[in-house]
């Protein structure tokens, strides 16, 4: 087999050096009844590269891709164009097959990238500092809640109804084991965000308020007002950004008073990938640095006085603090952070702005076209690149009908809130700089036909 370099002669020589009769003899500590006598029954034997590729290719061909269909899905994962150089660079072996940079002398490539990434995320989110990534936006969100409970020594969190339901469910799962109390406001398919309800729910036991920006229906909450209300009660504001491209056009949450900003970096450099691997972003105020979860890269000098970078503040982490660590996270999302960072370097502030303008403008054009269809109502007053429609029929059925016509027309809110019959007629529609006028025409025509 091509990935196993040892030849029989090698094995024989090595066994002689070791003084063992056979490779099987090296497994002497395994109880005999647990040793399999041969390869596991029913599982196929090895296969050539050509055969494996053909098998996987056939599975790939069964899926309808965003490249092959007019595409309007969002709801926490967004399709943007990733320049070819990004994917090319992350496949360099020195990035792809490198390890966590625990030996900094021979990992300055990874470490400098992480330092640049942390700075980019901190600036994008309007915060003092950021970490070197988490698994994804949803786990970054619960880590932020956990940090807020540590910092405030309170154990209650208020979650806006505009928070992605998967994020709320993840937070609820973790809270159950931490013994935290979550006040989860239900999503409402109305034009306004639930800012007032969120603010009213804050009390003296509240560690933090969690608000998504833009929210799951694409609306834009008033973070400054919520921040003031939270701070008045000694609580923190955790802002959640599932679409960081939005920050090319709307203000950064940190600048509006958010104490912690978390998010999903998948939009930049990473791609859709059927839901993973994605990229958790975590940024906060300087004063919380020693309570932050995740790896941190810091600047220092070497023995010759030259600038270099190292992982630092490691005593927060599991390999040192063990049960008192700020998180149990070890492996994070390094290669995705690299892809994000390269894409953002290619964009710069001006490119990000243009990308955001295009994404937004396509949403404006789409909403205009769809809003003219009889029975279809655009719910939002405003949006970045995603908005909600109210349809005269269950959105799930409409999306299935669109798929049958080769169109990926958006995400029915019922997919995220299956227990809410009152939301069954809501469709989430997202666009980006990849959305072409022909796509909008195709969606509009098909929707008209389906709803006629």
């Amino acid at each position: 087999m091509r990935m196993l370099p040892l030849a029989q002669a090698d094995r024989a020589a090595m066994l002689a050096t070791i003084g063992a009769q056979s490779v099987d003899a090296l497994f002497v500590d395994v109880p005999p009844e647990a040793v399999l006598t041969g390869p596991i029954r029913d599982l196929p034997f090895h296969a050539s590269e050509r055969v494996v590729e053909r098998h996987m290719s056939a599975l790939s061909a069964q899926n309808l891709t965003a490249e092959a269909a007019p595409f309007f899905c969002g709801a926490g994962a967004y399709r943007h164009h990733v320049p070819a150089s990004v994917d090319h660079l992350i496949q360099r072996g020195e990035f792809l097959t490198a390890y966590t940079p625990y030996q900094p002398e021979i990992a300055q490539g990874t470490l400098q990238v992480l330092f640049e990434f942390q700075t980019q995320v901190a600036r994008l989110f309007g915060c003092d500092v950021a970490n070197a990534s988490m698994y994804d936006g949803s786990t970054a969100c619960w880590e932020a809640i956990a940090m807020a409970t540590r910092v405030t020594k309170r154990n209650r969190a208020v979650l806006s109804g505009g928070l992605h339901p998967h994020y709320a469910e993840t937070a609820a799962t973790m809270a159950r084991f931490a013994g935290d109390e979550l006040c989860v406001l239900p999503p409402q398919a109305v034009a306004d965000c639930d800012d007032a309800a969120v603010m009213a729910a804050i009390d003296a036991q509240t560690a933090c308020v969690v608000v998504q920006y833009p929210d799951v229906l694409g609306r834009i909450p008033d973070l400054a007002a919520i921040a003031a209300a939270a701070h008045a009660q000694g609580a923190l504001l955790v802002a959640v950004v599932t679409e960081p491209v939005a920050l090319g056009l709307i203000e950064s949450p940190g600048a509006l008073g958010a104490d912690v900003v978390v998010g999903e970096g998948q939009s930049l450099g990473v791609g859709l990938q059927f839901g993973g691997p994605y990229l958790g972003l975590f940024a906060c105020a300087e004063k919380f640095v020693r309570q932050m979860p995740g790896r941190l890269c810091g600047e220092t000098v070497d023995a010759d006085g030259r600038r270099g970078f190292v992982l630092t503040l490691s005593t927060r982490e599991q390999h040192i603090r063990r049960e008192k660590a700020t998180s149990n996270i070890c492996t994070n999302s390094g290669l995705c952070a690299l892809a994000f960072s390269i894409h953002l370097t290619l964009l710069g502030g001006s490119g990000l702005e243009r990308m955001a303008e295009l994404s937004h403008a396509q949403a404006v054009a789409t909403a205009k076209a769809l809003g003219t269809i009889a029975g279809v109502e655009v719910i939002n007053h405003t949006w970045f690149n995603e908005f909600a429609l109210r349809l005269p029929r269950p959105a799930h059925d409409v999306v299935e009908a669109l798929a049958a016509r080769g169109i990926l027309g958006g995400v029915p809110l019922s997919r995220l809130c299956p227990d809410r019959a009152d939301l069954a007629d809501v469709l989430l529609v997202a666009t980006s700089e990849c959305t072409d006028p022909e796509d909008i025409v195709a969606l509009s025509d098909a929707l008209k036909e389906i709803l006629a």
């Binding site: 490779v23 599982l43 926490g76 640049e116 950021a130 698994y135 993840t170 982490e317 403008a361």
Partner: protein, 513 residues
């Protein structure tokens, strides 16, 4: 105070300022190129992406930000150069042996990368209609089936995003099972061997358990008597790594599992070292109730400089009902993701958004299909053979505390016993850098002083191992003789030893100009 730094790891800068000047005007030396930060060379108004020009219709109601985000941009050639130069400052598996114990730094096949990028996997959205992603669901189901068969378990939770996340999943499933039995309030303690990886007690604490540490015996394995003595009605279960962090197979694994079950608890197995036994031993046969598998270790998905990983958790019949949402199930002719809480009332909840690390599933499945059941058995055989070869070739020059107990598994453990006064494992490790290798895992596990844990993996040739042995024998002699130059190494890497004390005392985590 409690134990001062039991592992004995004291970072030291070594000898400073004795490197000769670089001798060029630029500070570069041929292919050894310095590279500034993007903040030092980029500008906010420079852009390496071509967008459509022209006016756009925006919503007047959009609360537009006052100014652009202050992020530097570079043209495409500058970007490629920046990151290519940075990449050349990294060691990688593609360059050489990466002997990190418990990390399984095996070759990352490039077919994995090609398959992961097939549009049907890379360009599909997690919330598309399920009829449009049957091929993606088939990948998840096929991989899940392999993992269940290889481990002899009943079911597998596919969504955890890494090993530590998988550990959390396993402990939450145990908690859910105890809750169903009405014992979640009384069984609050998890037993963890003192040699365990730090994620184990950290995870147990996060899942709401208290941790009781079980000592290792003189043979490097869990002290069975101590563990049995600690079992009782307050114990929810045990977290055990097998093979363990000393590179040894826990001979009493079945006895431990039987005792824990008899006492009403569950057995969580940390599967980080599965590479030693894949295709030869099934953890299910040893009584395991839950085990995470690191796809980025045993199943070759790339380490990427620190992730992403993937940590699916195989579950016994006792724990399978509690597996987190979503599940992939067969539905007539096709496959379906079951996501709603109402449809999975026993599932303990959701670990994260969407369905798991699909990009890692395609890579891991590609690897598994390539090797097959016969190839995987050979993987573990060669991995264990390679580690024992290293052990045999080094135990006369380095102290191997458990070598006399029998063969090791896929990794060999050494200590700093015999080093000259003032010379540490850190010095030897830094010396390996100049010899052209990444250091082994150092100062872990904590049960051995100055631990050096070496895992070659099965993708190393005998020639590569022999070269590594040459380097290690030389360094061992230098450490025992007290060669002062070992305090100055590395000399030939892009950087000398870095001041970690300064980085921790005065953290500078972002560029401030």
């Amino acid at each position: 105070m409690n134990d001062f730094n039991p592992a004995g790891w004291r970072p030291s800068l070594g000898s400073v300022g004795d490197t000769p000047p670089r001798g060029t005007a630029t500070g570069n030396r041929a292919l050894d190129l310095e590279e500034p930060l993007i903040f030092e060379i980029g500008r906010t108004d420079r852009c390496g992406v071509d967008f459509d020009d022209g006016p756009l219709e925006m919503l007047p109601s959009l609360p537009r930000r006052a100014g652009r985000v202050d992020l530097p941009g570079l043209s495409e050639p500058e970007t490629v150069r920046h990151y290519t130069r940075l990449s050349r400052q990294n060691y990688a598996i593609d360059l050489g042996l990466f002997p990190l114990g418990s990390c399984t730094m095996k070759h990352n096949p490039r077919l994995n990368e090609k398959v992961a990028r097939m549009p049907g996997f890379a360009a599909v959205h997690p919330l598309q209609p399920q009829s449009t992603v049957q091929g993606a669901l088939a990948v998840i189901a096929e991989l899940a089936d392999w993992l269940v068969q290889l481990t002899g378990m009943s079911a597998v939770a596919m969504t955890p995003k890494a090993g530590a996340h998988g550990e959390l999943c396993g402990l939450m499933a145990i908690h859910a099972a105890l809750e169903a039995r009405g014992e979640a309030q009384t069984r609050r303690v998890i037993l963890v061997p003192e040699s365990a990886h730090g994620t184990n007690p950290a995870t147990a604490a996060f899942a709401g358990f208290a941790v009781a540490s079980i000592p290792a015996g003189a043979d490097g394995r869990v002290d069975l008597a101590a563990l049995l003595a600690r079992l009782g009605p307050d114990v929810a279960g045990v977290m055990i790594t097998n093979p363990n962090t000393c590179g040894l197979f826990e001979r009493d694994m079945k006895a431990i599992a039987d005792a824990v079950h008899a006492a009403g608890g569950y057995v969580y197995c940390d599967g980080a070292n599965f590479n030693a036994i894949v295709g030869r031993v099934r953890p299910g046969d040893l009584g395991v109730d839950a085990m995470h598998i690191n796809l980025h270790k045993t199943f070759s998905t790339p380490h990427g400089g620190g992730g992403p990983g993937s940590g699916p958790v195989v579950l016994s019949a006792a724990l399978a009902p509690y597996a987190p949402r979503p599940h992939v199930v067969r539905d007539g002719d096709g496959l379906r993701l079951v996501e709603a809480a109402a449809d999975l009332p026993d599932a303990f909840g959701r670990m994260c958004a969407f369905h798991g690390q699909m990009g890692m599933f395609t890579r891991a499945l590609t690897y598994i299909l390539t090797h097959g059941a016969d190839g995987l058995a050979q993987v573990s055989g060669d991995a264990v053979l390679n580690a024992n070869y290293l052990l045999a070739q080094l135990r006369d020059v380095l102290d191997a505390p458990f070598a006399q107990t029998g063969p090791c598994m896929h990794e060999a453990l050494f200590s700093d016993s015999g080093f000259a006064a003032g010379f540490s494992t850190l010095d030897l490790a830094k010396g390996l850098i100049d010899e052209g290798f990444h250091p082994m895992t150092v100062y872990f596990p904590l049960v051995v002083h100055g631990a050096m844990l070496i895992e070659p993996t099965e993708t190393e040739s005998k020639a590569a191992l022999d070269q590594f042995i040459v380097a290690m024998r030389s360094l061992a002699e230098r450490a025992k003789a007290g060669d002062p130059d070992l305090h100055a190494v590395p000399r030939h890497a892009p950087r000398r030893r870095l001041d970690e004390t300064l980085a921790a005392r005065k953290p500078r985590l972002v560029w401030r100009g």
